[in-house]
Structure formats: structure tokens, C-alpha cells
Symmetry: D2
């Protein structure tokens, strides 16, 4: 289950203390395949919480650091065979780039929560830094780790749908329909603080998931868009609802709906792609089915499962169980970890499909373009392109 | 099953000859509850087809008329107890208003296919005509006849969702993904002819269904919109794909997606409404379920069925069978016929919820506003309001 | 829509007065395609109810008869072109055979509710009567009228599944989970009266539906069975729950579960058939989908809809609408009416698939064999075969 | 995430080499929550495979043992703080009891694949051994680890359904519809070898899953049954298809259908329980929904998700993620591991709901009783009770 050479990849975590489900999710995903090992961390600015989390996780006290700065400094002094190799950043958004920059500069690989940062400019600088280093940088776009998302991408790429005409992606949630921040929910609180979250609320939190899924499966960049943002609760500073119409480089058009005020919705990420010859539909909450439809055949349910003959090799590699044993969110995130660990061990590994700095750059381009369009009453606005 | 007084309502059909499934659908819906009786018609401009259809339907040859003009003239000469009472118009769109105007003027009630006409101006004239006459005019917005659509409308009206925040409605179809008109499909052909169809393609054909459903359930007018239209096939003259963002009078916003190039989609009309306290979702292809979700309760599946205690009286009146016996499209359309027949027999009947000239007027307002917005690159454009 | 020659088939109804939803369901199904016309009836033993129902249905008072005996006698005196042709029997079970016998003897075609009678012996006598007459007899096994039930039958018949191994059929309902008969529900009351219902409760009411569906699609007779019956409410005289294991002539085995005490279940008729090469699954509550699975292909959803290329000709004939317009229970029942009307007009019509006296005979064989097995603690018991 | 005291539980694995997906599934499930650590194993009788698996898993060569006997002997000699604590047995069935007996006797806790053994007699001896020791024994009835299975059990226990009337459980699979053993599939091969598998084929492999689920949720022992077994392929020695009718101690009755020849079925474990006041339905392939229905309320979808207010405390403890992040099979199995690890660390932990030797005993009682009934043509046969 683990990388061939060099044993488990030693990773440290920055953020992810008590109350943040995403920290525990990362640790579980990293543990699942036995390819990574948590060796250090700094989990909370509160020393008591930080220490308690470290103890709970079985870390030696010396590897539970007071801050990410001391973590980087202290770990760098350890002998190479003990020293952490990979840093997992699960902090609020504003720290993603500063920590990643420092970690890369210190010689560590990085796995960062999304969005990559809070401005396209800082993400561009991070990209520049990374370009010059023999290090890996991956972004926790967990949904891109689902096996059938890969299958969809492959089928589009090999032309099963013909030229794409429409891409509709949506991500409704309901958890911010009430003012959770006012009731002390810290996850809700920082997400509505522009200093911590960046300029996008729902836009950055889940809009980027929808955006990256559309580009990942569709295989063509979104080139311009028209956006409407809203914020439904009095006092809420950032958007909690996003409606975007867009066009792609290859001539498809579509819609992206993301919201956090849709009561009753859990994590309703769903994508549909329609081409000249067929269509695909995938829903995150039932991730083991991929619906394919074509002009003259009955709809097919491309079920997931190890060994099923209709699945591509890349899909098989992202599965762990025979059909009928549901695999879910943690397995998807674990696919990113497993792929990153392998790529760390093998510098020649192309890590095909692993979301990295380009995906991060695109995400910020989306956020900033949507905000710009919204400020101009939804005027159609082009997305920047890297290097342009 | 039939109206209390005066026996079955005698109706005639204009249009609906061989090949148009909608004519047969109307005849079946009208027959279902025994409240209406087909007594005359003019089904095709081709005399042979016209006569054959009349014979097939068991009409006396004298009641199979050569044109709608002769139908009106000939029927007017019959004694009142034989004379047709209601005219069902199932022609291409351009004839809806001319025939309806003439029929009303001749003293006949009208049941018209939608859209009500091909311009807001002509529908306004029809509305003016109708305002002065003691006659009924109903519009075949079949989906508004579904029992659970009524249930949704009632639940919104009585505040179960709180103030609405979002309305998302979509109507994907796939049947025009290929160039059917080129292969001789007459249904496809007239729909792409602006002279017959009016200025909207998909916009008028199914966009108006989605629009009217949103206003019917939401209970608040859509006040402005931003629209993107496309036409995917070379030589296609009218739009085959519609993306609209909108706002309502009460402050909700939402999206309307309609398309006829979504391969694999059948008749995927679906609406979701999210309010401050809860949400509703309904899908036309599984019309006997209505999903209700709220802040603190598990999702509920408000199933349809005679006698189920959670359904309103108005919903019960639109049902015919106990739970578990699926009712479908013809039953929904039959609900409009049944309600219209009762209203013809009882001039005091409010015919609550029966789509009429106002719904038709709104539909054309939608079509024209969407086209106007599209011509201005999706600029937000207000819908006109009646009398304004 | 109607038979080519001879106009609409004139039918009369026996039973089906106020409160019995099945009477109205039959009238709607008969009306749907314009092939039959209600001309007379006797709807209730209560003269006031009888008259009121007749008036409501628009029948001339002379055609609303005081009893089925007078109906037969009076109608026989009418001139042939006015006289009723077909009698629809929607009474409690004990009257099915007596009325059918008398009607056939008087020269009328018969459409009877199921089960065909209350004993195999009387159904055998009815079969003998029928064998000597040029008359049609059909049985209201409504579910056999669903288009995709036909499709399933054809696919099994042409060997798509290979030799069948397993047939699992179930029909859970919940409406008798409480003592409705005690609260005055007449439908519940007669169903628990052996004199009116025959020896089977749930067994005859819905068990026969499940049984006939299994034999209809499976295409092979059930040859022996082991049955367990229960009656869950104090004072209930007939079974309300049935569990049967069975074997077929061609070597398949399976289960039949039927119950009326399964709270929350509506009309959950569902069948699965597994063969050496594939399987099929169909559920009555979502009747427009048929799931087909095979050894090496993804599951296929054989959707219903006029013109879909994967449907057989016989399936197409049972459809009325393009895909995506749900057809339901009334349409299924209407398929039986339409087919019967055509067969009445054309004596050479084979009426393929129309359930008749053989289906009725099998149903009683099932009831009596299940009861016999149950009395012997579920001992495996052979079903009789016609003529044996 | 891990036990409070004593660090991670050190476990060893017996069996689970290349090709057996279940070994990797166990390792992943054990790793997920960071509460256990693989320290040794013997994975294959083939030395090369054994060594390769050990290396792949990062084990020190000294901890990769040549056989389970040497594993037990060698580990016992290690100092307590290094020595393995828990042995995971994922061998064919015939070795479950011998290894468990030896491991317990050597002072190790045991986590065994099901069934517990190949005869009730040997499992009884194992139970006797266990009764005298302060050691934990858990059985890998993975499906009992699903959060909503626990929720169902609690809801039945607190009387939400009233007295149970019906329990229907089914577990269709299709993977043995063809002769995989003949094509060299080792998983298929040993399962059809009575010496390795025990007397039951499908009966032991998945029938016991269905049986234990019914008793776990239903909360009442199955007391007698009638069984039909079949073996569909020429040369197959053990049953591949099971149909059982049963009764419970509290007066419910039901059915259990399990099969491995149902083409197209993956892992279709599904249970429905009907009581006097309501019902529950759960399906393994969509494990994050639990359908609850009652007499007068719409059906409710009891969704899974951390923090949802309708879920019991025990259900919450078995969840890791907020609603909408699907959890699946590995998480269910991990729940058993996590609970076992905690119980090993805390001898006072009641380990409520953790399947153990009693569940194993019942499973063998089921297998042997079903075989006995089958041999007597399905005669109703009582299950033994422990101590009787």
C-alpha cells in the first residue's frame, strides 16, 4: 500500500485542531492507505488545545510545535530521516500562501487546503516560487479524487460525448442558512471574515469546488463569465450565494450555482455535461454511480467497483473495493494523498490529475473574475490566463 | 364525474391531426373524467388527413370542418344544444391568438395550447377582448395541473418555507440535439420557423413552462432577468438553449435553465424553492413525490395519494387514485380540462389555479424580455407588468 | 383511437358505486382512448345511490338498472345497435362468476375484476362456459397492462436473460395495518368476509397480482409452492400477509411476498428475474423504468416512451406519450380496455397478452394451493394444471 | 482519535495476502482512525508472497512470520511493549476457530472474519474458552458497524415501530453466477470447498450477514425457520442461493433471501422492518439514508451526518463527517476496529453493539438449522439457543 522506496512519507499538519472536521478528515485520509505518517504538527494557536491534540494523536511533545514558523525552523534541524517531508495546511485561507511559501522555501512538499490563497497575485507568486523548486504542491480539491470523476474526465477526453455543448454544475449547501457565526461556530465565523477567507465567501468555499470540477471533467478552460452574488443574512460580509453563467474555450456554455443558504441541502455537488453525441451526470452524494446517456442507447449507470470491465485503468487505480461496497468522501481525499505520496517518492511520476498550483491559480482567477462581473451587474468578463 | 348541470361540455378541436402527439393527448385528457365530449373539429389542412382523423374519432362528417373559419361559422348555425361550446386550439403558435380571438368573439370558450400567442401585443389584445366577455379562456400549461404542484404552491403560500430566497427551475430536453427538422419531423420544423413559432424557440416551447411553474409555485412575479440564448445547430433559426438568472418581486433570486439539446434528457422539468425556514423540490418525471426539507427535521417525501392526511384539499381534488397508483401527465392535463369544464358550467366558479390569460401574458412577457436581455449581452432587464 | 368498425364498444358496469375507487378507475380507463362508451349500469344495491351514480354519469334513467339480473334482462330486449355489448364486473369477488356466467350466457362480453372467482371449481365451470361461446372474457389484472411489463416479458421470451434461475416478486401494502373494517371502511370490510372475498384475503386481493405478474413475465408456470399465511389483527378472519416460496416448470425458484400490514408501503409491487446471462427489475410505483443488467455491461435503464428504439413493437403499442411524460396506473388499465375493445370488434384479433380466463384459473389455483400448503405447515404442494 | 491510554493497539494479521481484497480492507479500516498499528503478520502460505506483502506493508522482516503458529510463538517472546496485542484473522473459515483458540490461549485479543467457525460445536468450544479469559473477541460483521444500522436498532429498541410484525432481509450478489472457481479465482475456489468454507456456501458467506443484521436491528432472536437451498452450477458443491422463512421470539415473521447468482446485483444487502406503528428500511449500497415511515406522517429520510439532531448519540459516535460527505464500507468496518481498540484499552468498556462470540454462535446456529431444514424439504426447524 505504501510507496516502494523510502517508507511512509512523513507529514506534519498545520491547523486542524478541535472543532475543525477537516483536520481529522485529512488525517484519516492520509492514514487510509498506509502511505503517510503524521510526525509533527501545530494544530491550534491555543497552547492547551495544541498540546492536547498532539497527545491525542500520539505525537512526541517535541514534535508538537507552537506555531508554523517554529515548526518549520525546528523540523529543519532534525536529521533528514526523521525530518518531516510534507506539510499539510488546513488553516483559514489567508495563511495558505504564506505557509506554503515558507514551507517550499524550507524544502518541504506542500498539501494545501483550497483555495490556494486569497488573491490571484499571491498565488501567482507562489507558482513562481514553485516553478523553481523540485518539490510537490497539491491542493485538497477532494472531489477531484473520486474514481468516477476520473472516469467522467476520461470519457470526455476520448470523445465519447463529442464536442461539449453544455456544462451545468451546482453545489448547494444549507448550513449557513442561519447565522451560525453569531452562535459561536468558528467554522462559520472565519469564513465570513474577509481577512481570513479572502474576498469570496461561498464563492471561495464551494464555488471553487464546482469550478474546478467543471474544468477537470470538461477538459477545457472557462474563458468568460457573468456572475451574480448575494449575501442573505443581515451583517454577513461575504457572499453566501453564487450564480454564474459561463463559456469555455471550446465553445460550450453553462451555469454554475453554488449556495450555502439552501436549507435541506447537504453537499449537493452535481455536474452534468452534454455533448453532440451523449451526456454524463455525476452527483457527489451518490458518488459510486455515473450516468451516461447517448443518442440511441438506454441510459447506463456506470457503477464503480474494482474490476468492473467498463472502467478505465485510472479509475481502477482510484478504487479500493469490489462493486457494492460504497466508497465515499474520505476515500476520495485519500486518493489525492496516495497519489501525492507516490509522487514525492518518485520525482518522475507525472501525478496525472492531481490538483496542484494550476488548479489553485484557476480557482483564484474564478473568484476574482466573478467578483468583478458582479460589481458590474453581471457583465460578461473574461478570466485571466496564466502568463497573460 | 361530469359537471352537475347541462351534461358534458361539447368541445371542438382545431389542429391535432396525425403525427402531433399533443392532439391525442388533449383528447385523452378531455375524455378521462367524462366531463367533455368531442363534437367537431378541423384537424389538418390536408382534406384527406382531416377527414380520416374525423372518421377515426367517430365524428359525423358534417362536424369535420375544412378550416377553423368554417368551423366557427358552421357551428354557430347549429342549435344551441348541439353547438360546440369550447374550442381547443392545438395549432402552431402563430394561430393561437387569431383563432382564440375569433372563437371568443363568436361566443365560444377557449382552451389554447401555450404560449398564448407570438407577441405580447397580440396577447394583450386578446386579454382586452376576453375582459369584456362572459367566457372562459384556459391555457394548456399541463404541468400546473399536477396535484403536488398545487401542494407546493399551497405550502409556499401558507408560509411553510418562510420568505423565499432562491428559486431554481430547469427543463432540459434532448430531442432537438440533432437536426430533426431536416429529416422531415414536422413538430421540429414549425418550432424552428419564426413565422409559426414566434420569436422564441426553446424559450417559448419549454422555457415558458419553467417560467410559469416558478411563478405558480413561488407565488411572486419575476421582475427582472438576465438571459443567454443559443442555437446549436447550423441553420437553426431559433434558440434551442436558454439560461436565465432572475429576481422576484419579493426579493428572491434564481435561475431558469431550459434546453432542447441535452442528449439523454427526456422532459426533465424540476423546481426547487428555498426559503428562510425550509425548501421544496419537485420533479415532473416522478410527479408523485414532493420533497420537503426544513431546518431541524429529516427530509420528508410528501407522497401523493387520495386521502393522505398531509395533503391539502386542493391537492386531493386533483387526485384520482389512492397512494401507490402512479398518476402522470395525462392526469395533470385532465385536471385542467376538468376544472375548465366545471367553470364553464358554473360561471361563479373561481377556477382557482387554472392557468388563463394572465399566465399567457406573463409567458410572452418572459419571452420578449429574455430576447431583449440576450440582445444586450445578458443585461438585466425588467419584465413588463400588465397595465403598465 | 377507436375500433375501425362498429363505433365505440358499448359497455355497462356492475358495481362501482360511491366509495369504491375501482369503479371510477375502470370508467376513466375505459374512456381514455375513446374506444368504449358507458351506456348502462347497476352501481349499488341502494336505489338512491344507484340512481345518483347513474345521473352523475349522464346515463339515461332507463339504463340505470336495479340489479344485475334486471340489467341483463332489460338490455337483452334493446335493439342490437343500442344494446350493451360488454359488461364490466367490479363487485366483490363472490359475484364475479355468477354475473360473468349469466352475462356470457346472455351473449355479452365480460371484463371482470380479479380474482376470477372464489373457487377453482367455479372458475373451471366459467371456463367451460366460455370455451363454447364466441365471446371475449378479460380479467382486470391491471399491472399486466403496463408497457414495460410487456417489454420484460418479451425480453425473457427472446432469451436475453438465458434460462431463468430466480424470480422474486413482492407486493407490500400497508392500508390494512389497522382495523379499518371496524371503522366502517367498506372496502376493508368485504375483503375480510370469506363469503364475499373467498377463502383468501391478502392472498386473493394482491397475492394473485404478484403471482400473475411472475407467470406473465417469467413465461413459465409455477408448479409447486410452500406458503405461510398470517392474520395480524384480532378478529380478522382472512390472511393479511403471505410468504411463498415456489418453483417453476423450467427449473427456476423464487419467492412471493405479499402483505397488507406493511406500514408505509403503498402499492409496492416489484419483480426481479435473474437468468444465466442477465436480470430484469421492474417496480410498479416507478413504472416507466425497467432495469436490465447483464454479465459484462453497465446496468441499463430501459426507459419507456413512444419511439424509443430499444422498445419492442408490443411495448410501443401500449404507450401513448413520448419519453418523460409519465404514464401510470390508469394508462395500464386502459391498455387492457383498448385491447379488449379491439378484440371485440375483430374476432380474429389474438389479443396477445390480454389476461383472460386462463390467468383467472391460475390465480385460483394459486390461492387454493397456498391455503393447502399453509394448512400443512408450509409443506411443498403442487399447483393443479388445467385439464388435470 | 486513538485510545486515551497505552497508545495505538498493536495488531497482527493472519491471512490477507495478495488477491484477497478483505485483507487490505481490514488494514485500511484499522488505520483509518489512528487507533491501531500493524506490527506483524503472516499473509500467505507462499513464502515469497508472504515476504513481499510484509515488505509492502513496511513491516520489519522479523515480524513477518512463516505461519500463524510461529507468529504466536515468536510474538509471545517479545517484550510486552512491543508484542502484538490483537490478532486479526482473515483466513478461510476452517481456520477461524483453531487460530482464535490458540491466540486467546496465548493471551491475545482476537478480531475474526465471519463466520466464527465451521460448526456450532467448535464455536461453542471457543465461547467456553473465551468465557474464562479477560480478552476481547470481535467478529467482522462489517455491516453492523454502519451508523444508520445502529440508528435503526435504537429506534426499534425504543419502540418507535411498536411490536414488530415483519422482518424482510435480503442479500443478493451476482459474482458467482458463473464458474469463477474454474477460472482460477481463489476467492471463489475456497468458498466452494466444504473443508475450507464449512457446510454452508452462500449461507455462511452472506446469509450470516443478513441473519445477523435482522437480529441486530430487530432485537429479537429468530427461533425457527424453513429453508430452501440451491446450487446452480454443475459441480458446485455448496449452496449458492438461500431462501428462508422465519419467526422470531417476539412473534414477528419474515424472510431472508441470499444469493450469489443474481446477475447484476453487487452487494444488495437490504432490510425492512414493519411494526404496529411504523417501519424502517435500510440498504447497504446507499448506507447514508434510513427510511422511516409511520401511520400518519410522510415518509422520512433519516439522513446520516455528524450533528444531525434526529440521530442518537450512538449513531453520532459512529460518524466522522458532516451530512453530505458519504461514508461507506471501510468506515463501517473501521467503526468495529475503533470500538474494539477502545475496549481493549478499557476493560470496563461495554462495547455496546460490537459483534462478538454470541453473534458468531448465532450465525452457526443459523447455518446448521437452515441446512437441517433444507434436508427435510424445508420443514420448520427450531434454532438452538445458547446453553440449551
Amino acid at each position: 500500500m505504501q510507496a516502494e522506496t523510502g517508507g511512509k512519507v512523513r507529514y506534519g499538519m498545520i491547523g486542524g485542531g478541535p472543532g475543525a472536521f477537516i483536520g481529522a478528515a485529512h488525517r484519516r485520509a492520509a492514514a487510509l492507505d498506509g502511505a503517510l505518517e503524521l510526525v509533527c504538527g501545530t494544530f491550534s494557536r491555543d497552547p492547551a488545545n495544541n498540546g492536547a491534540t498532539g497527545r491525542e494523536l500520539g505525537l512526541a511533545p517535541a514534535r508538537v510545535h507552537a506555531s508554523w514558523q517554529t515548526l518549520l525552523a525546528d523540523e529543519a534541524r532534525l536529521p533528514p530521516e526523521q525530518r518531516v517531508e510534507l506539510l499539510v495546511i488546513v488553516t483559514p485561507n489567508d495563511l495558505h500562501v504564506p505557509i506554503a511559501q515558507a514551507a517550499l522555501t524550507a524544502g518541504f512538499h506542500v498539501f494545501s487546503e483550497k483555495p490556494a490563497g486569497i488573491s490571484l497575485a499571491e498565488v501567482q507568486r507562489l507558482a513562481d516560487t514553485l516553478a523553481a523548486l523540485p518539490l510537490r504542491y497539491a491542493l485538497a480539491h477532494s472531489y477531484l479524487g473520486y474514481p468516477l470523476v476520473w472516469e467522467a474526465r476520461e470519457r470526455v477526453a476520448r470523445g465519447e460525448l463529442g464536442a461539449l455543448r453544455k456544462i451545468h454544475v451546482e453545489y448547494p449547501q444549507g448550513w449557513l442558512a442561519q447565522d451560525l457565526a453569531a452562535t459561536g461556530n468558528r467554522q462559520a465565523a472565519w469564513r465570513d471574515d474577509p481577512a481570513a477567507s479572502g474576498p469570496g465567501g461561498c464563492l471561495g468555499d464551494i464555488g471553487t469546488h464546482a469550478f474546478s470540477l467543471a474544468e477537470f471533467i470538461g477538459g477545457q478552460p472557462i474563458t468568460r463569465l457573468s456572475a451574480q452574488l448575494r449575501s442573505h443574512l443581515p451583517g454577513r460580509r461575504l457572499d453566501d450565494d453564487v450564480m454564474v453563467l459561463f463559456e469555455t474555450a471550446a465553445g460550450a456554455s453553462g451555469s454554475l450555482l453554488a449556495s450555502q443558504v439552501c436549507i435541506g441541502e447537504e453537499n449537493g455537488l452535481r455536474i452534468r455535461l452534454y455533448g453532440e453525441r451523449g451526456s454524463l451526470e455525476w452527483r457527489q452524494q451518490e458518488p459510486n454511480s455515473l450516468l451516461q446517456r447517448s443518442l440511441d442507447q438506454p441510459p447506463q449507470d456506470l457503477r464503480a467497483g474494482l474490476g468492473l470491465p467498463w472502467l478505465s485503468a485510472g479509475t481502477q487505480q482510484r478504487l479500493r473495493l469490489p462493486a457494492g461496497h460504497p466508497e465515499g468522501y474520505l476515500e476520495a481525499l485519500a486518493n489525492l494523498y496516495r497519489q501525492l505520496a507516490a509522487a514525492i517518492r518518485d520525482p518522475a511520476d507525472p501525478a496525472a490529475g492531481l490538483p496542484g498550483i494550476h488548479t489553485g491559480w484557476r480557482g483564484l482567477a474564478f473568484i476574482e473574475t466573478a467578483l468583478a462581473s458582479h460589481r458590474r451587474q453581471g457583465a460578461w468578463t473574461p478570466l485571466p490566463t496564466p502568463g497573460a
